[in-house]
Symmetry: C2
């Protein structure tokens, strides 16, 4: 009978699991149907993620106040251990042995809350679910669908925003919040410890921007592609930076007496942790991407799209696991894996596998993202350890405003010194405005809610996400119109070069000289990378690029012949054309740095490039290709898109 | 420091989780690459599932004998409870509270084995993973990709094989095994209890056939479509029957003193459980399928393939959860949901969503299936509670042979009495030969390995799966050739009707009369279903079929007008044509029962049908449509495929 009771209990537990998952599925279904209705009626003031949160909130309220408390049923048994807790516990129940596994620590004040409500407990997921199941497809998809042409054109600015900007934002927010905490202590609003490192940690997690709603509207209205690239690139990379930054702050543990004062050794250790984890994760992602590219190049898997897609999926997932197993950050590794896969492997896939992989990750991304946002809505009511402190919350809102401002405006000013295409004030305001917080901030905040300070941060993060997604998301369309940002730009089908480009090419003497200098100073790194990528990586990893036999020194002849795919000789140019939609049009690399020098040096420049494109070339040096690409890219930039008066639509 | 130790332990545990998952991913990657090599070189003696098992075995051996035992590190703590075990345990460790969750019972003899080897423990999944994560996509895909035309043509036989056949097989195997168990008791080979119900349970789990390797070869060689339909249909449905049958046997718990003798009340309760679970699961699957069809019909979701695909995925998944939450069997519900989705919803999807959903489930199915087979290979060495009893194993092999024989031959004889297209001896031998055991038998066996008898059954099932997949899978190609079964049949592009059909139409007097009688006796149920489906369900749930305004009585005019989609009036015929590839060509329904009567009644029959197809019909009665379809279907059957001499290829 005992056995039966246990079995029934397990069955009951399984049933509740099913019901809780079903709740989320129904939430998502509702979200999808409503979103369809919104899209159908062209309502743009509420994005699907915002909607998912609202539905989540409603269900959260129902679960919180509508379901009966079942606390009496399962009084937890207490038994004392002298030693540290084990991961596995063996319990002897009247002669039978049962195995228990550690779930986590419970703060003493909350003991009576455990098991308070089965349903609430069931809908509360292990935070690691976000990091191990839901975030990877989201982040991978971000990397895989990066519009590479525009991304690489603005690479320098994006990297600056992501690395410098996130660090600045983290530092500013951390310090402002430390002020707020000091104030709270003075007023007597703080009942537990709240250290400076906690404030910095908060700064790190809240610096992960996620302008998902803004980008969705950009996509729909075809807003300016450069602004899109800046925003998207920054948000993707600063997620990675924020994760690693928060781990480094956690790793900052000064030794000795004064455990919460500054310690240079611990600080440098943290910096080392940051660099180590970031570069390690980057390497992992790049390596598995490269391995997949090699496999897909040298096998004829493309005859079997199912096998190819399965392999692609497995290799991308293995990146995550490999990084986690080695102690790096899986989510960051997955991001760089996605970028590598898009840059190399994508070229080797069969046409069917290309659409399969894109669609597969699109669906996974869509489901995971909306799931997280529903969960956020739900968590506001079902999470049991909320600490809402009005002072802290107001302080946090002010801090993220200043943090974002200190991140965007000074950096944009510095970047504009080097950029030919200045980031205009309108763009800067739009970037300032688009500093939404989303899935990543939430996942980082919920990961550790053990202490008082972390619980307060979690509750505050939740409110910040709600506020920014709803208000900022809803305000994007009017904001775009108000800031006069051009829409209706077609990023892929650039119109053919017209006479307009001529005006840009007319640089005056000193300007030309400056640009020449800029090119020599800043662009050498990109030129180096470009020529390496174009001459060695692309030919080795894909079927495109110049044959290795022409780029490698002659003594590597045998290896070069083995590695070069036969297609290269035949349809080198043809493949390049195919690439251009989804994959980096490599030439865009250095344009950011004002390199119109090649075309501006002589009026025959562009023509030479065009001629070399037409002619059947058996040998292409990297310089030649770069020149040609730069010429082409230059045409493109100057002639792309028209500034439209934004049609003011239904702005709520 | 304590906290730190726990954290490090959790991190270590997470790392090991990653490594174990990574192991499986590498296994799958290896399998994919080898399978590509095999396909590339047209090797057919080993299927991907067989290969996955071999790789699993190798890794299992390495893990078992190659990794150090880490038993000393985590001695489990024992503490005694007087009461029954709780699902949650609260443990006080020097003032801090930790929550533990119940993992399962451990038999007393195995206590020292717990934690024996962390790695082995990590690669051992919770058996419920199979039922809740891996089986649903496999089973759904089976239902969704059922070749409906041939499935429905042989529906009667398939149902007979699946229901009667599985029951017969279960009963025969159960009884034979009970004899073996008795023998073992006599010889002294049995050290613990082994009841009659255990034997029947074994009969149920081992009756779930899974001719995955045979079907793969059939697909590749385009073997006879009717045989394919019989095998595939039977295997899909008998999985469902075997699951429900095994639950009913577990539910057979006689009350009173003599707990393991026959008890009529308990027996009828078990029968009731079988019927209840089966019909309940069927209903759940059908209902969610119908709801999805309605949603996809009445919204314009097909403008947004991503939303449509996501909705389709969520609704199909919710079937599973809904059934589980209501106490039915999710896997069975998912099967019927798949069939319903294919029959109705598929028609409403946009072209992109059709390929997206098919490809999505194809990839999921592929990954899940190969994962299960790798896991099987691994489990042979890493599972810690194996009991190999040579007598039981040999007995089991003999029993499944006789069970299969007693299932196929007598049933085929009975079916042949009613079938026009007799199931030839060759087909019967092939079906006998194709009784492989696979994922479902394994999942059912591993679900409960608590007792001695169940552990012995699990080990035996594992060996049976290995043996049948390797030997039978490898022998399929020579067997096909030896049994002279035609290959190279194109199931979709039936050649146009030729004069051949005339020979079949010439029925002699008595035969015609008998067929007429058979039609009136057996086919009325199908005629009823057909007319209901064609006149009401199809028009309500899809954009095809006759307008409801013509089929519903006139007083339902308003409802009929609301439910009928405007497309129906326009392109009724056109849509029917589109269906025919993937979705049931409805007319095939009754052909199994020898209903050539309509065309045989008068020589003008088929011509009338053809004429009515040509003319633009504004009103179609179900009888008329059925007649037309039967005529068409008849043409088709008689002229489809040519008997080829099987090209004997590289048969190992």
């Amino acid at each position: 009978m005992e056995e039966l009771a246990t079995e029934q209990e397990a069955e009951e537990s399984h049933r509740q699991d099913s019901v809780s998952l079903l709740t989320f599925i129904l939430l998502l279904t509702l979200t999808i149907l409503t979103i369809w209705l919104f899209k159908h009626r062209r309502v743009r003031f509420l994005h699907e993620t915002g909607l998912a949160m609202i539905y989540g909130l409603i269900v959260g309220v129902i679960l919180r106040y509508g379901t009966p408390s079942t606390s009496g049923r399962d009084k937890p048994f207490s038994c004392s251990l002298e030693d540290r807790p084990f991961t596995t516990l063996l319990v002897n129940v009247s002669g039978k042995f049962f195995e228990y596994t550690l779930k986590g620590e419970i703060s003493p004040g909350k003991i009576h809350n455990v098991e308070q409500n089965d349903m609430l407990r069931k809908v509360t997921f292990d935070p690691e679910v976000f990091f191990n199941i839901l975030l990877p497809p989201i982040i991978f998809h971000a990397g895989y669908s990066l519009k590479k042409r525009h991304f690489f054109r603005n690479l320098g600015s994006i990297l600056a925003y992501a690395f410098l900007g996130t660090a600045v934002s983290c530092f500013i927010i951390g310090n402002l919040m430390y002020g707020v905490v000091k104030l709270m202590k003075l007023v007597g609003q703080l009942s537990d410890k709240f250290y400076y490192t906690d404030c910095l940690f908060f700064g790190a997690i809240i610096s992960a921007t996620d302008p998902v709603t803004v980008l969705a509207i950009f996509n729909e209205l075809h807003a300016d592609v450069d602004l899109y690239a800046l925003l998207f690139g920054e948000s993707v990379l600063n997620d990675a930076v924020a994760i690693v930054l928060s781990s480094s702050i956690v790793a900052y543990q000064p030794t000795g007496e004064n455990t919460h004062a500054f310690d240079a050794a611990a600080f440098f250790k943290s910096v080392g942790v940051f660099l180590g984890i970031f570069s390690g994760s980057f390497m992992m992602g790049a390596v598995t991407g490269v391995v997949t590219a090699l496999i897909s190049k040298f096998t004829k898997l493309h005859c079997f799209p199912l096998l190819e897609t399965a392999l692609f999926f497995l290799m991308s997932w293995s990146t995550f696991l490999l990084a986690e197993a080695c102690g790096f950050t899986g989510v960051v590794a997955v991001l760089f894996c996605g970028i590598t896969q898009a840059h190399y492997t994508y070229n080797n896939l069969s046409v069917e596998s290309r659409s399969r992989t894109k669609q597969l990750f699109e669906v996974l991304h869509f489901l995971a993202e909306n799931f997280i946002f529903s969960y956020m809505g739900l968590a506001l009511f079902t999470f049991q350890k909320h600490i809402f402190s009005p002072v802290f919350i107001i302080g946090a809102f002010i801090a993220i405003f200043f943090g974002r401002a200190a991140h965007i405006y000074p950096l944009s000013f510095l970047l504009n010194l080097g950029r030919r295409h200045k980031i205009s004030w309108n763009f800067q305001h739009m970037m300032m405005f688009s500093g939404l917080r989303g899935a990543m901030a939430f996942a980082l905040a919920i990961r550790d809610t053990a202490t008082y300070s972390h619980q307060m941060m979690f509750s505050t993060t939740l409110l910040i996400v709600f506020f920014t997604v709803w208000i900022v998301g809803g305000g994007t369309t009017p904001m775009l119109s108000w800031l006069n940002i051009r829409v209706g730009v077609d990023p892929d089908q650039d119109p053919p070069p017209t006479n307009d480009s001529f005006q840009v090419l007319q640089g005056d003497g000193p300007d030309l000289e400056r640009r020449n200098r800029t090119k020599q100073e800043s662009a050498w790194l990109f030129r180096l990378w470009y020529s390496f990528d174009h001459n060695y990586l692309k030919p080795i990893l894909t079927h495109s690029g110049p044959p290795l036999t022409t780029t490698l020194p002659s003594w590597c002849g045998l290896i070069a012949r083995c590695l070069t795919s036969p297609q290269v000789y035949d349809n080198q140019e043809q493949l390049r054309e195919e690439d251009s939609d989804f994959i980096l049009n490599d030439g865009d690399l250095t344009v950011t740095y004002g390199d119109t020098t090649i075309t501006a040096n002589g009026s025959s420049g562009p023509h030479t490039a065009t001629t070399s494109l037409d002619g059947r070339r058996t040998k292409s040096s990297s310089e030649e290709a770069l020149e040609r690409d730069l010429g082409a890219a230059d045409h493109e930039i100057t002639s792309r898109g028209t500034r439209l008066v934004f049609p003011l639509e239904d702005n709520a």
